[in-house]
Amino acid sequence: MLDNNKYDRIPVTVLTGFLGSGKTTLLNRILTENHGKRIAVIENEFGEIGVDNDLVIGAEEEIFEMNNGCICCTVRGDLIRILSNLMKRRDKFDHIMIETTGMADPGPVAQTFFMDDELREALNLDGVVTLVDTKHVLLHIDDSDEVKEQIAFADVILLNKIDLVSATELDQLEARIHAMNSAAKIYRTQDAVIEMDKVLNLGGFDLDRALEIDPKFLEPEYPFEWSGLFEFSAGDYYFALQPGPDPAMNINFRLADNASEAGMRETVEKAVLVFSSDEISLKSGSVIEPSEQLSKINLEGEKLKYILRVPNAGSYVLYTEHHPEEFAAIITDAAGNQVKSLFNREFKPDHEHDEDVASVGISTPGDLDPKKFEPWLRDLLAKQGPDIFRMKGVLSFSESSERYVFQGVHMLFDGRKDRPWREGERSNSLIFIGRNLDREQLNKGFSECLI
């Protein structure tokens, strides 16, 4: 057989997003920008596109079910037909863009590149770029599977039309989208203005870049976003806040052993436990004493002020569910002077329970035993394939001196050997994006495949 690795596969970019999100604007930008690439465009919605030297082909969405209706086996018949034709003129272009309709499910589009042997050999799904209309997405995100899936499938998400929403709304939206799909790179754009190398030639397999952008995405998640360590004397301090994006938040005020970063770190696990216990609701003006009690402080109204009552001089840590900056929070002593934290730390928030679509990242050193890994993955995909929208990763197999890179869509999987490992580089990084994913089970299952 011919060795596919020796052939350059043509990169394909899939552009998704609801009507009005700016797909056509971005596409026009890509076609007119001077990037030196000849681009063939397949579009499902007929817009005002037409640029000399580029090939633009209209298509009508045709969903083909295979193998008796399993969702993992649906493909796009129109794309198979058109892409097969494009393969016959592959010397005429360097890149293919597919613009889907606003309501299109990206699943069958992505699966087409795995299911059809001819396309699989000739093409490489370089990336799924999803445009989000920041002004309107919140109207759809809770009840539209299409919106969730378009976000879940994305390698790159453009939060477009940022001029139409406030900075706070944008931060919240970005945090929410990030929790759903931690592997995607998120950019904020106006009129879909973006550098071309952020949307083209992403290299579908390159997880390194995802890790570069967000080093926190493989860390565990926490029920709080911030903690700060303070040196307090005995007496009352005031925790003053302004109204912000949330009507209330949980906090825990507790004693620390000593005034160091280590002293603060030692309290993290206990705070996690506190945050999973029952809270008491407090109104502005209430007194909070250092304890194992979770307090839910009200954040509605003006001049919000909570009293932190310190019994003895010492080191104390405050944990807050949301970042204090979102509420312009400050701590003052009884005389009104601001007291700053000696150390503080930001945590990756745990939004998993808010969303049915979430990401699970696994990062672990060691070598995988292919005899254990393959059956584990096969079994996982057989059971949870419909819930896994995307997965990708870089694996270190024993007995192989090269990186193994893979990506997958639902039950379909495409992997290959990549470049050799560099000195001291060997490790495994992978991410699953899907519904109802069990983080602990996935981590446990994966680590059992290590030698």
Partner: protein, 346 residues
């Protein structure tokens, strides 16, 4: 992979008559019925006419479909041929001079196929999901309702009474004038190519899901053949209708359709290619079979005698179209735009 048996190979079997450089991926070739003219259409929509007088071959570019070409078909008398393309047009060309006779509006976008009826000289065309039939005055006299997807393939029945359409969800047989409702041969899958057996007992289809179906035309039942590693785009019946040759792998597979049909019978397998097949074609009259693969090998078989390769040529690129004429000349259109024409040692 098992070793290929070359013990019956005759290096002189194939004699090259010509190599034409048309410079553009050849989508399809078709010989006129007298075997003297060959029409070619390329992916960019260029239409060529090749004339063969004895062993002297000349060709010329006669026209073009804007945006791209899809298919070519000769009228049975050889006086004209039709081409279709991405411009929504059927173009009819004079079979001798190559002059364009007429350009017909046949759809909004791609016209994927147009095929002449072997008896009535009607033309069947497929554009999008719709089938249209044209009479000899070039007027549309039949328009189908939409099929469940874009039409992938068409084929007139051997007696010319009906035309079968392959699409997602199987085959639909349209018999204009006689039958009000087209007959469905339903399958939940995407049928990519179809081929009528010459005796009209079967309509064979190659499928996206890597199967081949044999539809019994009369009963509407089907036999499904599994085990192909890829989707199946290559089908060819032998002249008697007993054997169907299929691609979908690196071997040529022959299915025996005599008696009750291919179900439960072990097919014959012919090995000569190191990569999957791109074309397979029985002689329209005669016993020989030709196959080509992604390995750019042309292989000739005498499959009723034995399973060993008898003729072999290395092409400059994989073949995208393979056509025998009545004189056992073989025309091969290639991905690199060349057309090679061979005759057999007499």
């Amino acid at each position: 992979m098992p070793d290929i048996d070359y013990s019956f190979l005759d290096d002189d079997l194939l004699i090259e008559l010509s190599q034409l450089e048309l410079d553009d991926y050849i989508i399809e070739l078709a010989w006129s019925s007298n075997g003297e003219n060959l029409a070619a259409i390329t992916v960019e929509g260029k239409v060529f006419l090749v004339n063969k007088y004895a062993d002297i071959i000349k060709y010329k570019l006669i026209g073009q479909h804007d945006k791209g070409g899809n298919s070519v078909s000769w009228r049975s008398d050889g006086k004209e041929f039709a081409t279709v393309g991405h411009d929504g047009k059927i173009k009819i060309w004079d079979g001798i001079s190559g002059n364009e006779i007429i350009s017909l509006e046949a759809g909004d976008s791609w016209v994927s196929k147009a095929i002449y009826n072997p008896h009535s000289n009607w033309l069947a065309s497929a554009a999008g999901r719709q089938l249209r039939l044209w009479d000899t005055n070039r007027e549309v006299f039949y328009e189908s309702s939409d099929h469940s997807s874009t039409i992938a393939d068409l084929g007139w029945s051997p007696d010319g009474s009906g035309v079968a359409v392959a699409a997602y969800n199987g085959v639909t047989l349209h018999v204009p004038h006689k039958q009000k409702q087209p007959r469905k041969y339903s399958w939940k899958g995407s049928s990519l190519v179809l081929a009528w057996s010459p005796d009209a007992r079967y309509i064979a289809t190659g499928e996206q899901d890597s199967t081949v179906h044999f539809w019994h035309r009369a009963s509407g039942e089907d036999d499904r053949m599994y085990g192909f590693p890829t989707k199946v785009l290559e089908l060819s019946w032998n002249s008697t209708g007993r054997w169907l040759a299929t691609g979908g792998s690196s071997s040529v597979i022959l299915w025996d359709c005599s008696g009750k049909g291919p179900a439960g019978r072990k097919p014959r397998e012919y090995l000569a290619h190191s990569n999957k097949l791109t074309q397979v074609a029985f002689q329209p009259t005669g016993e020989l079979l030709a196959s080509t693969g992604k390995d750019a090998v042309l292989a000739i078989w005498d499959p009723m005698k034995h399973d060993k390769i008898i003729g072999r040529k290395i092409l400059s690129a994989p073949a995208s179209s393979l056509r025998w004429n009545k004189d056992a000349n073989l025309a091969i259109g290639q991905e690199d735009g060349r057309v090679a024409i061979f005759k057999l040692k007499s």
